[in-house]
Symmetry: C2
C-alpha cells in the first residue's frame, strides 16, 4: 500500500506553485510557474533514484529500472499544467500518484521485472495552447512536432518558443517507445462517483469530443441611426445558434455536451454593430456515431441561421478526439486490483479527454478515477478526499505491479 | 458659397492619416495618429489666420476674430477621432466644413461681427474611451475633468496619460464660455435622407441613449463530465437575454435600437464553462419616456433570466444621454438657410449622439445632416457625395453668418 500522508503532502507542495486566492491553481502550460512545477517534480524523481529524460515536446519521463532489461516499461503519468481557473488535483494527482508508487516500492525494497516510468505530458489542458493533450498527442503520432511548435496562445507566443524559453525543449525524440502497459489515475471531474458513493471508477474508455471555431461575419454599422431590420448583426445569429445547440444537446440525452468556453469580437466598440464574432464550440458524446450526428446538425444549424440572419459563417475544425475504448487486459488489471483491495467501484467512461486517449493508440492503456467533490473541476474549488486519493494510488500500484511482473 | 473642391481635398488629406486597407479610417482618440490629425488641423487653421487654443481636455478652438469684440463667438465643430472600423467623414466632415467656412470668408474678404470658432472635440466616438462625447461633455459641465482623465482603454491606459503623451493637455480650462450660437454639420450615419432623396437634414434634436455593462456570473466547470442540467453557464443566460432584448426593440417600433458592440469572457478557456460574461448594451429611442420604459424592461429581463438560469447578474450604468431638443432659433437659422439655398430637405432627429448634445446645454445649438451612402457608418465603407458635402457646408456658412451678424 502507498503512503497516503506523503501523497497528500506532495500534492499540497505542488499546489503552492501557482496557488490562487480562491484555493485553486493557475499554472498554465509553458509559463514560469509550469517550469517551477517541473523542476520540483524532476528533483523529487531524482531523489527517488529515477533517471529523468525530457523529449522534444517537453514530456518528462522518470524511470525506475526493472530486473529484466528486455521488458518494455510500465508507464503511468498525467500532466502538471492547469486551467486558468484550475484546481489542485486535475492531472497533478496522476503524476504525483505515480511518484508515490515509486517511493512506496523504494520504501518496501520491491523490485519489478519491467522498469516503471512516471510521465509528465506537456499542455494537456489545451487552455493556453489548443488543442488539448498535445504532448502525448505528438508522442503517439497524432500530431506533427512542427504543428505543435507553431501553436500560439492568445498573445501570439508560440508553443515552440515558450518550451525553449522555460528550458524544457529536450533532446530525446518525442516518439512513442514500446510499453508493456500504461495507466493513468485522475479525479473524475464529474459528479457520478460521488453521487453513487463509489470510491473508484474503472474506466472502459473516453467519450468523443470535437472542437470548433464558429465565425459569424456581419456588417459593422452605427448603433443609433441604423434600422434594426437592415442590420447584419453577428449577435442576432449568435443567440439563435446558442439556443439551438443547447437544444441539440438536450435532444441527444443525458450524455451529450455543448460548451462555449470562449468568444472573441471584432472590432469590439460599444456603439458599433460587430463585424465578427468567433465562438469556441466544444461538442461531446460517448458514442461516436451520435457525436457525428451532432456534428452534422451543428453545421446545418449554423448554415441555416447565418443564412436567415444575413451573416456569413465559417466553421473551422480545431480538434477531433474520437471516442476511445481502452485495452481489455489493462481494464481487467484495474478491475481485479480494485477487487483485491475491496473498494466500492463503478465501470464508466470518461467525459474529459486525457493523455491516455493518445497513449492508448500505441500501448495497452486504461484509467482509474476517484471521486471529485460536487463534480466540480476546471474550477478553483476543485476538491477530493484524502482517503479517495489514497485508494486510487493503491489501485494504480497494484495494476502496475500486475503488468510489470508477468 | 464655399469651395467644394477644396473641402473635398482637405477631407482626403485628413483621411490619409490612419487610412485602412478597406478605404476607411482607424484614427482612434489620443493615439499617435490622432496627434498627427490634430497637428495637421492646427497648421491649416494657423495658415488661415486663426488663433488656436487647446484646453485641458485636448479640445481645440481655432478663432477667427469678429469686428465687435463684445459679441460671443459663433462656434462650429465636431471631432477628428474615429471608430476602429471608422469612415472618412464621421466627425471629420464637421470640423473641416468649419475650416472651409473660414477659408471661404477669407477668400471673399468678408468679416463678421461676432468672432467665429472651429472646434475639435476630443474622443467623441467613445470607442477607445467610454463614454462618447467626453470632450464636449466636460466642457459643458456634464462630466468632471478627473472622471474623464481616469477613463481607461482596454489596455488600461488612461485618458489623462494618453492626452499628455500626445501633447494635447492644454492650459485653457475645459469650461464653457458664452457663445452666440453653435452649429454642427455631420453625415447622417443612417439611410433616411438617401432613401427619401433629400439633400439636407434640418435637425430638431437627438434621440436618447443608454449604455450599460451587463455581467452574467456562473460557475466554471469542465466541458466534458459536467452534466448540462446542473451547469450555471453564462452563455445559457446570454442567448435568452439577447433574444428578449431584440424582441423588446421590435416591440418599441421602428425607432428603438438595441446594440451589443462588445463582449468579454472570463476565463476564456475552450473546455471550461465560463465564469463570467460582460456584454456592452446600447439602448436608444428618440422618445425619452419610451427609452425609460425599455430601460425598465431590460432590468426585468436580465434579472428574470439570470434567476431562471442560476446566474448572478450585475447591470452597471455606463452612460446616459437623454433625448435632446435643439434651440428653436438655431433650427430656424438652418431651416431658412436651406430655403435660401434651395436644397431639398427634411426635418429630423439624430439617431447618433454628437458633441452638439452637450453643447446644447450651455449654448443655443442645432445641427445639419447630409446623406450617407446606404446609411452605412462606423464602417470603413462609409461614403458621401461631394455635392452633398458641399451643400451641407453652404448651409453651415449661411447659418453661421446669420447668427454672427445681427
Ligand atoms: N482532463 C482534462 O481536463 N482534459 C482536458 C481535455 C478536455 O477538454 O477534456
Ligand atoms: N456620431 C457618432 O458616431 N457618435 C458617437 C456617439 C454615439 O454612439 O451615438
Amino acid at each position: 500500500r502507498i503512503n497516503g500522508q506523503r501523497l497528500g503532502d506532495t500534492l499540497m507542495a505542488m499546489a503552492a506553485i501557482g496557488a490562487t486566492d480562491k484555493g485553486g491553481c493557475n499554472r498554465q502550460a509553458l509559463t514560469d510557474l509550469d517550469k517551477q512545477g517541473r523542476d520540483l517534480f524532476v528533483q523529487w524523481c531524482e531523489d527517488a533514484g529515477c533517471s529523468v529524460t525530457v523529449d522534444a515536446m517537453g514530456n518528462i519521463f522518470a524511470r525506475r529500472p526493472g530486473t529484466n532489461p528486455d521488458l518494455p516499461a510500465v508507464l503511468t503519468g498525467s500532466h502538471l499544467d492547469t486551467q486558468p481557473t484550475g484546481g489542485r488535483f486535475d492531472g497533478v494527482y496522476g503524476v504525483l500518484a505515480g511518484l508515490e508508487v515509486v517511493r512506496s516500492l523504494n520504501d518496501a525494497g520491491i523490485e519489478t521485472e519491467a522498469p516503471l516510468e512516471v510521465a509528465v505530458w506537456t499542455n494537456e489542458e489545451g487552455a493556453r495552447f489548443s488543442p488539448a493533450m498535445i504532448g502525448s498527442g505528438v508522442w503517439s503520432g497524432e500530431f506533427d512536432l512542427d504543428y505543435a511548435y507553431a501553436r500560439s496562445d492568445k498573445e501570439g507566443k508560440t508553443f515552440g518558443d515558450e518550451l525553449a524559453r522555460i528550458g524544457y525543449k529536450g533532446k530525446a525524440p518525442a516518439v512513442a517507445r514500446p510499453l508493456s502497459a500504461a495507466f493513468e489515475v485522475h479525479i473524475e471531474q464529474g459528479p457520478i462517483l460521488e453521487a453513487e458513493q463509489k470510491q473508484i471508477g474503472v474506466l472502459s474508455g473516453v467519450q468523443g469530443m470535437h472542437w470548433y471555431d464558429l465565425t459569424l461575419i456581419g456588417q459593422p454599422c452605427h448603433a443609433g441611426p441604423s434600422p434594426m431590420e437592415t442590420r447584419r448583426d453577428p449577435f442576432m445569429g449568435l443567440h439563435r445558434i446558442l439556443s439551438e445547440l443547447y437544444q441539440l444537446a438536450a435532444e441527444h440525452g443525458p450524455w451529450a455536451r455543448a460548451t462555449f468556453g470562449d468568444i472573441r469580437v471584432e472590432p469590439g466598440s460599444r456603439n458599433t454593430v460587430p463585424e465578427k464574432l468567433v465562438l469556441a464550440v466544444d461538442l461531446r458524446h460517448p458514442d461516436q456515431k451520435t457525436l457525428d450526428a451532432m456534428d452534422q446538425r451543428f453545421r446545418e444549424i449554423a448554415a441555416r441561421v447565418a443564412d436567415e440572419t444575413g451573416l456569413e459563417h465559417q466553421i473551422r475544425d480545431e480538434w477531433r478526439s474520437p471516442a476511445v475504448a481502452f485495452d481489455p487486459k489493462c481494464v481487467e488489471a484495474v478491475r481485479s486490483s480494485v477487487a483485491e483491495l475491496g473498494y466500492s467501484n463503478k465501470e464508466m467512461v470518461s467525459g474529459a479527454g486525457h493523455d491516455s486517449v493518445y497513449i492508448s493508440r500505441v500501448a495497452p492503456t486504461s484509467m482509474i478515477f476517484v471521486p471529485c467533490e460536487k463534480g466540480l473541476s476546471h474550477n478553483e474549488a476543485e476538491n477530493a478526499k484524502a482517503e479517495d486519493l489514497e485508494a486510487g494510488a493503491n489501485v494504480l500500484l497494484h495494476a502496475m505491479l500486475k503488468m510489470a511482473n508477468k
